[in-house]
Amino acid sequence: MRIGVTVFPGSNCDRDALYAIERMGEEPVELWHAEADLKGVDAVIVPGGFSYGDYLRPGAIARFANVMGPLEDFGREGGPILGVCNGFQVLCEAHLLPGALLQNRHMRFVCDRVRVRVETANTPWTAGFEGGEGLTLPVAHNEGNYFAAGETLARLEDEGRVVFRYLDNPNGSVNDIAGVCNEGRNVVGIMPHPERVSDPALGSDEGLKILRSVMVGAGV
C-alpha cells in the first residue's frame, strides 16, 4: 500500500510519519506542499508540526497550499485521510472536518501521555479496533481544545462521528473529544500522535494499530 505524507513548510512530524509507515512494511510517499499531485497514493496522513509556524492560526495558511486541491478531491471521493495534531488543524481549516481547535484551556503547551478511548471502529483508521478499546497516546500541542457549535456537536455525537475521546482531557476539549471524522467517515482528525508510539524500541507500538487499520479497510 502507498501512503502519502504531506509536507508543508514547518511540518515537523512528517519524517516520523514516513518512518512509521516504513516500519509497517508499507511504502511511504512524500507529498510536497507546492505540488498539486497525490502521486496515486492509497491513503494520506497530514502530519503534525507547525505548518507556517502556526502563525495567524494553526493550519490557516497551509490550507491554501497547492497539494490541498487534490487532497480535498481525494477526501470527497472517499479516500482515507488521517490528520494528526497540526494535520487535524489543517483539515478543520480546510473544512474537510467540522469544528476548530482552540488554544488549550490552561494556555500552556502540553506534552504528555494520555488515555484515549476508541469510540467507533467504523472509520478506515479505526477498523482494526473493537469499539471502546483504550489506548495510551502521546499529545504535544498548544491548540488542541476541540470546539464545535451546538448543532454540529450534537450531530457529531448522534452520528457516532466522535472517533476518539480522552479519558483524561489535557486541553479542555468539548465532550473530551480527541478525534472526529467527516460525514463520509473516511477523513479522520486526531490530536494525539499515533506515529510516536509505533516502535517497541520507544516503549510502545500502540499507535501502529491506528495506522494499520487503514490496511484492514483496503483489504490488505
Binding site: L56, R57, A60, I61, F64, C92, E93, G99, A100, L102, Q103, N104, R105, H106, M107, N145, F147, A148, A149, G172
Partner: protein
Amino acid sequence: MPETLKIRVLVRPKEGILDPQGEAVRGALPALGFEGVRTVHIGRLIEMEVESADEVDAMCRRLLSNPTIEEYEWEVVS
C-alpha cells in the same frame, strides 16, 4: 509604484467562544490593583498595506479569520 491603502482588520472570538486569554487577563487585574474591569476579550489586529481594497473582504473571510470561531471587521485607515 501605485499608491497603497492602509487597512486595519480586527478579528475577535465570536460570542460564546472560550477566550482563555481574556479570562486570564481579567482575572489578573485586581491583584495588580486595577479594579472595575468587567470584561476583557482578546483578539487579533492585522494591519496591511495593499494596492487595492477589492480583495480585503475575501482575505478576511478566507484567511485572516476562521468563521467557525471568529468574527472580523475591517476599515481603510488611510
